[in-house]
Amino acid sequence: MNKPSTQQAIFVYTLLGIALIVFLTPIYLIASSSVKPSPIMFQRPPAMLFEPTFEHYRDLFAMRPFGKFIMNSLVVALGSTAFSVFFGSIAAYAISRIKHKRMNDIAFWILSMRMFPPIAVVVPYYIIFKTAGLLDTPLALIIVYSTANIPLTVWLMKGFFDEVPSALEEAAAVDGHGLISIFWRVTLPLAAPGLAVSAVFCFIFSWNEFLFALMLTGSEAQTATVAVMSFWSSDAVQWGRIMAGSFVILIPGVVFVLTCQRWLVRGLTMGSVK
């Protein structure tokens, strides 16, 4: 592809400028509305220069125990991440190393589990957790989120393990190391970036999830995404607090995109792009 001419460059920049405005305005609105005084929230034209206020953040944490809901989100997200990355990566190692024609089927079966519709299992989950006394506990969500996080970890880690040269493992085997020792000392350190990427994906997915959190938790184990909806009521919508809560919730995802965008293709397109 040749370098575009000046005319073409202007065309490209104009269209991209429009796209950036369209795709970033909603995010700007969340950030600015979260520090905008309520009386000018919907002022026209939108107030660009104003004295920022932190009253919405104060209300968010003082009027409702939003801090507790953030903690719940953290506990659930970290718990499910640890569980899924551990079991997902050892399974990925086995799938990467066993050469058997059924292995591909097992890998696809695991991957397909990620794509099943949550709504189809929410009724059974509700009944099962109710029976087990696990409704409204972080443990229920940790288990449920692993259903999506384990397949994702297996998928990502298999790719990373495939790239570890087998000569290194063979050399360690000749030195008398057993398989677990080889995995722990040779293979896993070389696939460490994969562990980080998988962990971040698992964390973001769990942190952002809403449907299961809504159905399976109550006042105790409620997560932040469910809590932020509770500022919405038909008589008076607390937009300031909703936007402040939304801003807190969107931070991890935005940081992830800005720092690890090159891994997004691998984690999200499931092998569509080679």
């Binding site: 490209v12 965008q261 792009v273």
Partner: protein, 294 residues
């Protein structure tokens, strides 16, 4: 490597089994349970009534009720609207951000942000924009001469309101996948085509697009699977309304199960939707295998 494999078959199996066991217990078992429920009359509002075996009655109720067919039709309408616009805009953006110009990397990264935002937050910010009387979207649109649109209060517009929020969030996905595929295409056919004096559009239409096609097909299947499951954005924006104009399949199942407490009917509807999603997933994996052989 063969040497390592042979001696450690048992350890490899112990590595693999826990993940498979967890997935079996958290997906296959609940699905079988849903299958069991779908043949029972199970009304959670009447906990002491025995759960009678009712045969195909729940399925009959689901498949012959206008509500279910309406939900199915709305789900597919939404899928067609969102996928087609995401495809066109996403491929267009991918062509822009892969130009050899300064600043393209930054633009590409910034455009990916919507994808990683919780769908609830996406719903809330679009609710803020659509909000009757107050929302800024109609204000912005008034500058280009568009009269106020009753986004979420009119059954004619509500589905579009949802589609726009979904398009905003997931167009970057198509852009990302297409841009990655574009950068890995080999440059030779382009140079040949340019030398032959083709216009840019002809090069795109006859050289780029055929090479991109397998990737685009796979990306669209992934989007279709997600579009079929859409829930959060609709829950926030319209809760399926006004009327049932935006009641997609997942909201129908939710309403049957948790508003009417008809767990058996909800489970039967879940099972029908599972069959559809299995077809989509199979087609997705088929599409992956095809470009391996091509």
């Amino acid at each position: 490597m063969a040497y390592i494999r042979k001696r450690n078959r048992r350890i490899f199996m112990t590595f693999l089994l826990p993940a498979m066991l967890v997935l079996f217990l958290t997906t296959i078992y609940p699905m079988l349970y849903a299958g069991y429920l779908s043949f029972r009359s199970y009304d959670l509002a009447k906990p002491f009534v025995p759960r009678m075996f009712v045969g195909w009655a729940n399925y009959q109720q689901v498949l012959t009720s206008g509500d279910f067919l309406n939900a199915l039709s709305i789900t597919f309408q939404l899928m067609v609207i969102t996928l087609s616009i995401q495809l066109v805009v996403g491929v267009g953006l991918a062509l822009l951000v892969t130009q050899r110009l300064p600043g393209m990397g930054v633009a590409r990264t910034l455009l990916l942000i919507p994808m990683m935002i919780s769908p609830v937050i996406v719903g809330l910010v679009w609710l803020f924009l659509y909000f009757p009387e107050l929302g800024y979207l109609n204000y912005f649109l008034s500058f280009v001469g568009i009269d106020p649109i009753p986004w979420i209060t009119s059954p004619n517009w509500a589905l579009w309101a949802i589609a726009i929020a979904d398009i905003w969030q997931w167009t970057p996905f198509i852009m990302m996948g297409t841009a990655a595929a574009l950068t890995s295409l080999s440059p030779e056919p382009y140079e040949a085509a340019r030398i032959d004096g083709n216009t840019r559009w002809q090069v795109f239409r006859h050289v780029t697009l055929p090479q991109l096609k397998p990737v685009l097909v796979s990306l669209l299947f992934l989007r279709a699977i997600d579009a079929f499951k859409i829930y959060d954005i609709i829950f926030v924006l319209t809760k399926g309304g006004p009327g049932d104009s935006t009641e997609v399949l997942s909201l129908y199942i939710y309403r049957q199960s948790f508003t009417f407490w008809q767990m058996g009917v909800g489970a039967a509807a879940s099972f029908v939707s599972l069959i559809i999603i299995v077809v989509l997933i199979t087609l997705f994996f088929k599409s992956l295998n095809r470009d391996q052989t091509a």
